[in-house]
C-alpha cells in the first residue's frame, strides 16, 4: 500500500518538479517560459513516437533505459517521502540509495560509449569523473547524518530527526546540509556544474550521454533523470528538515504529509532557481574546486559533531 502510494507519488511528482523549476527560472529571467505541465506533455509525446537506434550500438543501448529507470525508482522507494517510514527501507538505507543511483549511472555511461559517437564518450567520461569526485563529499555529509542517527537506515535517520525540529541549526547539520546541497547540484547536473537545457558540445554532460536516444527510451531516461532529482531533493529535505513527516500513510495524515512535502520541495526548488540564475556555468575543470569545497564542508561537519 505504502509502496504503491509512494511509487505513484514519485512517478507523478517528478516531472512536475522539473516543470516548476523551469518555469520559475524563466520568470526570474523575465521570460515567459513553458507551463509547469510541459514535462508531462514532453514525456507523453516521446512515448508515442517511434525511435531510431544507432546501427553501431549493442543490447546495452536497449537495456540501459530500463536499468536506469528501475534503479532510480527503487532508490526512490527506499527514502521516506510522506511518512517517516521508508516503504522499502528494509531493502537498503542511504548507502544502497547512492549505490543504486551509481548502478544507473554506470549503465548510462556505458550506453553513452555504445554508439561510437564521440559525444557519448565525452559525456560518459565527464559524468564518471564528476560523480567520482562528488562521492567523498557526499559520504562525509551522509556519515555525519548517519552518525547522529546511529544508523544508515533512512527510516531511522528521519526518525532521529523528527524529535528535534531545530536540530538542522546545529553546526554539524548545517555544514552537512551545505555539502550535500553542493553534491546535489553536481549529481542532478544543474548549473553551475552542468546545464540541463543546453546541447552545446563544449559544456554538456548528461545530455551528451543520451544524445543518441529518441522516442520512448529517451522518455524513460528523461523521466528517470527527473525522478533522480526528486529523490535527491527529498533525501536532502527529509534528512534535515523532517517537518511534517507523518507516522502513517493513511487518511488525513497522507494529505498533510504531501502538503508539507510539496511546500518543502517548492522552497528547495526556489533556492535552486536562484542559484542557477545568479551563477554562470563553470568551466569543467573548475568543478573539482567546487567539489573540494563540498568535501571541506563535509569534513567540517564531521569535526563539529564532536566539537559542539
Amino acid at each position: 500500500m505504502e509502496n504503491a502510494a509512494q511509487l505513484f507519488l514519485l512517478l507523478a511528482l517528478a516531472p512536475l518538479v522539473t516543470g516548476v523549476i523551469r518555469t520559475l527560472k524563466a520568470r526570474l529571467q523575465t521570460r515567459r517560459g513553458p507551463g509547469i505541465l510541459q514535462p508531462y506533455c514532453d514525456l507523453g509525446k516521446l512515448f508515442r513516437k517511434g525511435m531510431v537506434v544507432p546501427e553501431t550500438s549493442s543490447w546495452i543501448f536497449a537495456a540501459t533505459p530500463w536499468v536506469v529507470f528501475f534503479s532510480t525508482v527503487l532508490a526512490g522507494l527506499m527514502i521516506p517521502m510522506v511518512a517517516a517510514e521508508a516503504p522499502l527501507g528494509l531493502f537498503g538505507g542511504v548507502l544502497a540509495v547512492i549505490y543504486l543511483l551509481g548502478l544507473g549511472r554506470f549503465f548510462l555511461a556505458l550506453s553513452g560509449m555504445d554508439s561510437g559517437s564521440s559525444f557519448g564518450g565525452l559525456g560518459s567520461s565527464r559524468e564518471m569523473t564528476i560523480s567520482a569526485l562528488a562521492e567523498p563529499a557526499m559520504m562525509l555529509a551522509i556519515f555525519t547524518v548517519a552518525i547522529g542517527a546511529g544508523s544508515t537506515g533512512l527510516t531511522e535517520i528521519a526518525g532521529a530527526a523528527i524529535g528535534q525540529h531545530w536540530r538542522f541549526l546545529a553546526p554539524a547539520q548545517m555544514f552537512a546540509f551545505a555539502a550535500l546541497a553542493l553534491v546535489l547540484i553536481a549529481e542532478t547536473g544543474r548549473i553551475p556544474v552542468d546545464n540541463p537545457a543546453t546541447h552545446l558540445e563544449l559544456t554538456m554532460i548528461h545530455e551528451a550521454m543520451i544524445l543518441e536516444y529518441s522516442g520512448p527510451y529517451l522518455a524513460l531516461l528523461e523521466w528517470a533523470a527527473s525522478i533522480k532529482q526528486l529523490v535527491l531533493m527529498t533525501l536532502l529535505i527529509n534528512c534535515f528538515w523532517p517537518f511534517g513527516l507523518q507516522p502513517t500513510w493513511f487518511g488525513f495524515a497522507a494529505v498533510e504529509g504531501i502538503g508539507w512535502l510539496l511546500a518543502k520541495l517548492l522552497l528547495l526548488s526556489c533556492a535552486i532557481v536562484v542559484l542557477e540564475t545568479v551563477n554562470a556555468k563553470m568551466r569543467l575543470f573548475r568543478v573539482p574546486e567546487l567539489l573540494a569545497v563540498a568535501f571541506t564542508l563535509g569534513s567540517l561537519a564531521l569535526v563539529s559533531t564532536f566539537l559542539f
Binding site: W66, F70, Y99, M113, S117, R126, M128, T152
Partner: protein
C-alpha cells in the same frame, strides 16, 4: 572423512603434476591431464574444506615424513578452511577455463611443464593455508613463490616477461626474509615452531619486540599481497603471465599474504596496541586510492586489472585495520563485523577478479593484443565473454545487487560504527577512511566503464578486433561458473555470512552472524541496533519483477516502432573508429585533476606538408610518473648496485681466497658459539 577428502584432493594435484610432466611429449594429453587433475583436485578440496567449515571441526593431519623439530602438520581450522574454499572455488573455474585456453598453445609450448607448475602452485597454496607449523609454512610459501615465478615467466621469450618474473622473485624473497625473521622471533619466544604454540604469544612480548614482529609480518606478507609501497612487482608481473595464471595470481596467490596477516594478527596477537590497526587502516586507504588512480591511467587491459588488485587489497586491509582497532578498544562485536567485511571481500575479490582476468584472457586470445586502444566492438563477436566481463565489472565496482556491494557495504558499516568507539581524535579516521573508500569505489566504477566500454562497445579499432571470434566452450564455462559465484555471493549474502561464525568465534570469541541476518534471511544488517539493512535478494527480485512485468512487454512493443540508423557523426561522411572516444581520452579529465600525482608528460609532433592546419601525420606520446618507484625504489636500486660494486673487490675468483673466507667465518661462528 573431511581430512581424507582434502588430502585426496592434494594427492590428485600432486599426481596430476607428475603425470602431466611425464606425458609432456603429447601436448593434448598433457593439457588434458594437467587441467583435469587441477579440476578434480579442486572439487575434492572444495568438498573437504567446505565440510570442515560447516561441521565446525578442525581436522589435523600429520604427514608421515616429519621429525620432531620439523613437523609437517596440516590443520584445517576455520580460517584455513575458508581460504582453502576460496582457493578451490577459483581454481576449479580456472582449470575448466584452461582446457580451452591452453589449446592453441599445443605444440608451441611445453604444456606438460605448465601442468606441473600449475598443479604444484595449487598444492602449495593449499599447504600455505593449512600448514600449522612455521617451518612447513615457509617451505610451502617458497614453493608457491617458485611456482608463481615459473608460471609468470612461462612466455619467457619476451624481455618484459623475464624482467617482471625476476622482479617478483627478488621482492618475494625479500618478503620471505622478513617472514623468516618474524617466525624466528616468535619461535625463540615459544620454544617451538608450531602455530598452536604461537597463539596469543605475540602480545606477551615486550612492546618493542611486539612492534617489530608486527612490522616484519606486515611487510613480509604485504609484498605478496601487493600493499603499497611494496606493490611494484604486481602491475608488472600479472599482465605478462598467461591469463589463467593471472587469474590465479590476482585471485588467490596475493590472498596468501592476506591469509598470513589474518593468521598472525588475529591468532598470534591478542588485543594489539592501537597504532597497529591505525597503520593498517592507513595503508589500506593508501593502497586502495593509489591502486585505482593508477588503474585509471592504464590502457593495457590486464595491467589495469592488476592495479585494481592493489585497490581491492587496500579495501581488505581497511577491514583488517578497523578490526584490529576495535579489538584494541575492546569492541569484539564490531571487530567481528570488520573482520567479516574484510574476509568477505577477500572471497569476492577472488571470484570477480578471477572472472575479469579470465575475460581479459579471452579478449587477448581473440585480438592478440592487451592494448585496449586496439580493441572495440567485441560485444558483437564475443557476446558471452562480454556478458561475463560486464558482470565482473559491475561486481568489482561495488554496485548492487552483486557481491562487491555486500562486502563494501559491510566495510562502510564497520567504519561508520568505529566513530563511536573512542573519544580521541583517532575516531575521525573512520569516517574519513569511509569517504575515501567511497571515492575509491566511484573511481573504480569510472575505470570499469572504460574497461568494458572501450574493448567491447562501439566500433572495432583494429582489424584484429574486427576479426575476433568467440572463445571456446570450456573457456566460456569457466567464466560462467564465476559469474554464478558473483551472483550467488551477492544475493545469498545472508546465507553466506554464517560461514564466518567459526572464524570469528576462534579469533574474537564472538559469533556474529545471527545478529547480521534479519527479516527471515532477507536482509543483512551490521549487527548494531537499528543500524540499517540491505537486501540484495530484494533488490534483485525488484529488478526481475519489474523487468518481466514492464520492460519485456513494452520493449517488444516499442521494437515495432524502432528503426535502425547511423549514429550522429557531426556531419562527417560516416562514423569510423577514428571518431570514437579512446581510453586515453576517457581518463583525460582525471589525469588533469590529479596531475599533481601523475605528473603527466606528453609530446605531440605533427608532420605537415603545406600548412600546419592540415597535418599528414600526428605523433602523440603520453606518460605518467610513478612517484613510489622514482623516489623510493630507484635510489634503493642505485644504492644496492653501488654496494655490490664495492663488494666486487672481495670476489677475486681465487679458490684459496674463498677457502680463507670460509675458514674465517667458521672461526667467528665457533667463537660466537663458545661465548653463547
Amino acid at each position: 572423512m573431511i581430512a581424507e577428502l582434502f588430502l585426496s584432493g592434494i594427492i590428485v594435484w600432486l599426481v596430476g603434476a607428475m603425470a602431466s610432466l611425464a606425458v609432456w611429449r603429447q601436448p593434448t594429453t598433457a593439457r588434458r591431464v594437467g587441467c583435469g587433475a587441477a579440476f578434480v583436485g579442486s572439487l575434492l578440496v572444495l568438498a573437504g574444506s567446505s565440510a570442515a567449515i560447516f561441521s565446525g571441526s578442525s581436522p589435523a593431519i600429520n604427514l608421515p615424513f616429519g621429525n620432531p623439530v620439523f613437523c609437517w602438520t596440516i590443520r584445517m581450522d576455520p580460517l584455513s578452511a575458508y581460504f582453502s574454499v576460496t582457493l578451490a572455488a577459483l581454481a576449479g573455474a580456472v582449470s575448466l577455463y584452461s582446457f580451452g585456453y591452453l589449446r592453441p598453445m599445443e605444440g608451441r609450448r611445453n604444456l606438460g611443464a605448465f601442468g606441473f607448475f600449475f598443479n604444484l602452485l595449487l598444492l602449495s597454496l593449499a599447504m600455505v593455508f593449512c600448514a600449522s607449523n612455521a617451518f612447513f609454512f615457509l617451505v610451502a610459501w617458497e614453493v608457491m613463490a617458485l611456482m608463481s615465478y615459473c608460471l609468470i615467466s612461462f612466455e619467457h621469450e619476451k624481455a618484459e616477461t623475464r624482467n617482471a618474473g625476476m622482479l617478483f622473485l627478488i621482492l618475494s624473497h625479500a618478503g620471505t626474509g622478513l617472514l623468516l625473521i618474524g617466525f624466528l622471533l616468535l619461535g625463540s619466544a615459544s620454544g617451538s615452531l608450531d602455530f598452536s604454540s604461537f597463539h596469543l604469544l605475540a602480545s606477551q612480548m615486550t612492546p618493542i619486540r611486539q612492534g617489530t614482529v608486527f612490522l616484519l609480518f606486515l611487510f613480509g606478507f604485504g609484498v605478496k599481497a601487493g600493499v603499497v609501497p611494496v606493490h611494484i612487482w604486481l602491475p608488472k608481473a600479472h599482465p605478462v603471465a598467461p591469463s589463467n595464471v593471472s587469474a590465479l595470481m590476482s585471485g588467490i596467490v596475493i590472498k596468501s599474504g592476506i591469509y598470513g596477516m589474518a593468521r598472525v594478527f588475529f591468532d598470534f596477537y591478542g588485543p594489539p596496541p592501537l597504532w597497529m590497526g591505525t597503520l593498517l587502516l592507513g595503508l589500506g586507504v593508501t593502497s586502495a586510492l593509489l591502486g585505482v588512480l593508477y588503474a585509471l591511467m592504464e590502457h593495457d587491459l590486464k595491467r589495469l586489472l592488476a592495479w585494481h588488485s592493489i585497490e581491492n587489497i587496500g579495501i581488505i586491509l581497511m577491514g583488517f585495520g578497523a578490526a584490529l582497532m576495535f579489538r584494541s578498544l575492546g569492541y569484539a562485536n564490531l571487530a567481528a563485523l570488520a573482520l567479516i567485511a574484510a574476509l568477505y571481500h577477500t572471497f569476492n575479490h577472488a571470484i570477480f577478479k578471477g572472472l575479469l582476468f579470465l575475460g581479459a584472457g579471452a579478449v587477448v586470445q581473440a585480438t592478440h593484443t592487451r592494448n585496449m586502444e586496439k580493441m572495440g566492438g567485441l560485444i558483437r563477436q564475443m557476446p558471452m565473454t562480454a556478458l561475463c566481463f560486464l558482470v565482473g565489472a559491475v561486481a568489482i565496482s561495488g554496485l548492487p545487487p552483486l557481491n562487491g556491494f555486500v562486502s563494501e557495504w559491510l566495510t562502510y558499516q564497520a567504519l561508520l560504527a568505529g566513530f563511536g568507539t573512542t573519544h580521541s581524535l583517532t575516531r575521525l579516521m573512520f569516517p574519513i577512511a569511509g569517504s575515501l573508500l567511497a571515492l575509491t569505489a566511484a573511481l573504480a566504477a569510472a575505470c570499469f566503464v572504460k574497461a568494458f566500454a572501450i574493448p567491447f562497445l562501439a566500433l572495432p579499432r583494429s582489424e584484429e578486433a574486427a576479426d575476433a571470434r568467440e572463445v571456446s566452450l570450456p573457456m566460456r564455462a569457466g567464466m560462467a561458473v564465476l559469474v554464478l559465484g558473483c551472483v550467488a555471493l551477492g544475493l545469498g549474502a545472508t546465507w553466506f555470512v554464517r560461514v564466518f561464525d567459526p572464524i570469528t568465534q576462534q579469533a574474537l570469541g564472538v559469533r556474529a552472524s545471527s545478529a547480521l541476518v534479519m527479516a527471515h534471511g532477507w536482509a543483512l544488517s551490521p549487527g548494531t541496533a537499528h543500524g540499517g539493512t540491505i537486501s540484495t535478494a530484494g533488490i534483485a527480485l525488484f529488478f526481475l519483477l519489474a523487468g518481466a512485468a514492464f520492460a519485456l512487454p513494452l520493449a517488444l512493443r516499442w521494437r515495432r516502432r524502432s528503426v535502425s540508423g547511423p549514429a550522429w557523426d557531426c556531419g562527417l561522411p560516416g562514423l569510423t573508429a577514428d571518431n570514437e572516444y579512446t581510453a586515453t581520452a576517457f581518463s583525460k579529465p582525471l589525469r588533469m585533476i590529479f596531475s599533481a600525482l601523475y605528473r603527466p608528460r606528453r609530446e605531440i609532433q605533427a608532420e605537415y606538408e603545406v600548412s600546419p592546419y592540415y597535418p599528414s601525420a600526428i605523433h602523440f606520446e603520453s606518460e605518467i610518473e610513478h612517484p613510489i618507484e622514482k623516489h623510493l625504489y630507484d635510489p634503493l636500486r642505485q644504492w644496492i648496485m653501488a654496494v655490490a660494486n664495492r663488494m666486487k673487490g672481495i670476489q677475486a675468483g681465487s679458490i684459496n681466497l674463498y677457502l680463507a673466507y670460509i675458514f674465517i667465518t667458521l672461526i667467528l661462528l665457533l667463537l660466537f658459539g663458545v661465548r653463547a
